[in-house]
């Protein structure tokens, strides 16, 4: 199976990228390490695009059903969204080490997941599914970009020799919150498209299934975090960044934990 081979190469490259970017954060490497790490990530993302295309052509549907497919497509989409964000907002590049760590975990998990080919359930033949999946992946990608930066900013509090200039921190902090606001827009759209899909697929737009409940909680956590920042102007930066990481933790659990322990229709059960 070619995509499995590509996935093995991907994990190796991601492991190398993680090590390289961590050394960069630690101050061992030249300051251009971010650019090199981004180039490597671009290559990995292109490889994953090939893997997805090969599997799509062979089994006749997109990577929507099995755990392997969902993880594969998420490593690709997070990488792609992060690359776009890093090109658009240079401050985002400082979080690349964290992003590599997250991608490595997901890719290694994909290697361990069964690569069984499952037909697309009839409820998945729906345009709303495409909208739901697309905005969901945009949400997760933007969230990972924010959390990458927030983690590095938090670590900087312990190692203040990183990024000596204070304006770096100001710009990075601003980028974190802008990305979280963008994530809120995408998450809201994901809930709407998901409800429209559920109405078509199962005849109800909201049924409190575990995935719906947890995604609503993630939306609430995101809204609370954004309101906290507005309400308390003296909210310590570290608290804000920690909340961002917490929101991502909840989103990660919702995306990759709940669908695989629940027997709800979201699992694609027939």
């Amino acid at each position: 199976m070619p995509e499995m081979t590509i996935m093995q190469v991907t994990v190796t490259l991601l492991a190398a990228g993680t090590l390289y970017s961590l050394l960069g954060v630690w101050g061992v490497l030249h300051h251009e390490y971010e650019r090199h790490a981004l180039l490597l990530l671009g290559f990995v993302t292109a490889l994953l695009a090939v893997a997805i295309a090969l599997r799509w052509i062979r089994i006749g549907h997109g990577p929507f059903v099995t755990m392997f497919e969902i993880l594969l497509s998420n490593v690709f989409s997070i990488g792609l969204v992060y690359l776009v964000a890093a090109l658009w907002v240079p401050a985002v590049r400082h979080g690349i080490a964290t992003v590599y760590c997250i991608l490595l975990v997901l890719a290694a998990w994909a290697l361990a997941a069964p690569t069984t080919e499952t037909p697309l359930p009839p409820t998945y033949h729906n345009a709303w599914l495409w909208a739901h999946v697309t905005v969901g992946k945009l949400f997760l990608g933007v969230c990972v970009a924010a959390v990458g930066l927030a983690t590095i900013l938090l670590l900087r509090l312990r190692h203040s020799n990183w990024w000596c200039r204070e304006d770096n921190v100001v710009a990075a902090d601003r980028a974190v919150w802008r990305l979280m606001m963008l994530a809120f827009v995408f998450h809201s759209l994901m809930l709407i498209a998901g409800a429209a899909w559920a109405q078509d697929a199962w005849g109800r737009y909201w049924a409190w299934d575990p995935l719906e409940t947890w995604s609503l909680l993630t939306w609430c956590a995101l809204a609370i975090t954004l309101h906290l920042r507005v309400t308390f102007s003296r909210l310590p930066q570290a608290a804000g960044w920690s909340l961002v990481i917490g929101v991502f933790g909840l989103a990660f659990l919702t995306f990759f934990g709940v669908p695989f322990v629940s027997v709800a229709p979201h699992k694609g059960a027939m």
Partner: protein
């Protein structure tokens, strides 16, 4: 009054309401053993908090995108509440060749303001076809329905999976619940005939227990089993569940005796006789009444549009590169 409204409009109260809502969601989770007030009470608090903020906070009013987003949230909560009051949810099983009967509908949820119009729905169940792609993995479902249109005219439509029948505001969705039914005719000593059907459990999910009981008009009960041949799914290959795969014989047990009947055969039973007409398929439908659905969708999308407008106005004007220009020239940790 203004002081009270200002207190009610506090952002800290907003946060308390949101935390309360999140806690309510965790407790409630659609579990009907818990009261809906876990979710409704924080939402009410947030609604009053928002209304007060709109009245007392001019900065809020001067940000139209943000205002639009919050008003839409308010409308969504209102629409969802009305939806709860007027919604209907039920199920029905219809045998091929028979007409939908409103009195056969099993009510699952009915809002207090729902005025049933199910008796206005008219259609007859036609052929059914369910594709299985691999053993028991269900593929597409297709159900033919016959709808009376202008006097004397009948329209044939196809529903299934994402395509429901929409009639009198109700949506009829096909479900995974479907199977076989036996059509039986009871004749009493005077020759008065009564034809009805008995549905066997959902197939192929319950292929091992295709039996049911039929209470005859004279009060006696009959145990009836459908004799199902091994199906293609046992070989884990693609197969289709349709009229052509419908089994042809039933086994009838009564008073210690049993007999296998083919279509058209009958047995004499005390007080009359039972004739097995034929086996047919039945389809289980999920019926929902959600007339506010399009309004909910439009309101939600408008809200997100408002939020996007707000964010664009706030951040879109300042180029991100300019905002971070200092970083690219800054010394790093190297």
């Amino acid at each position: 009054m203004i002081r009270f409204l200002r207190s009610l409009a506090s952002l800290k109260l907003t946060l308390a309401g949101m935390v309360g809502f999140a806690v309510g969601v965790i407790v409630y989770r659609g579990d009907i053993s818990h009261t809906q007030w876990w979710v409704a009470a924080p939402l009410l608090l947030l609604a009053f908090n928002l209304l007060a903020a709109i009245v007392t906070n001019p900065r809020f009013r001067y940000q139209p995108g943000l205002l639009l987003f919050h008003i839409c949230l308010l409308l969504i909560a209102g629409l969802a509440a009305v939806d709860k009051l007027i919604a209907f949810e039920g199920t029905v099983e219809i045998v091929a060749g028979t007409a939908f009967a409103a009195d056969q509908v099993r009510h699952l949820r009915r809002g207090p303001w729902h005025r049933t119009q199910l008796h206005q729905v008219e259609f007859t169940q036609g052929d059914l076809r369910v594709e299985y792609v691999d053993g028991l993995r269900r593929g597409r479902t297709s159900s033919t329905l016959w709808l009376p249109r202008t006097p004397g005219a009948i329209e044939r439509i196809q529903v299934g999976d994402k395509r429901p029948l929409i009639a009198a505001g109700y949506r009829f969705y096909t479900t995974s619940n479907k199977g076989y039914a036996a059509l039986l005719t009871w004749r009493d000593r005077n020759g008065v005939a009564l034809t009805g059907s008995i549905n066997f459990p959902s197939y192929p999910l319950n292929d091992w227990k295709q039996n049911n009981q039929w209470i005859m008009p004279n009060g006696a009960s009959l145990d009836i089993s459908l004799l199902v041949a091994p199906q293609a799914y046992a070989r884990r290959t693609a197969w289709t569940l349709d009229d052509e795969t419908t089994p042809g014989r039933i086994r009838v047990r009564h008073a210690g005796a049993e007999r296998v009947l083919a279509p058209g055969e009958r047995i004499a039973i005390a007080g009359g006789s039972i004739q097995f007409e034929e086996a047919r398929m039945w389809m289980g439908y999920r019926i929902v009444y959600v007339p506010l659905l399009p309004w909910l969708l439009v309101t939600a999308l408008t809200g997100v549009l408002g939020l996007t407008w707000h964010l664009w106005g706030k951040f879109g004007r300042a180029a991100p590169r300019a905002a971070t220009a200092g970083m690219e020239a800054s010394p790093t940790n190297a």
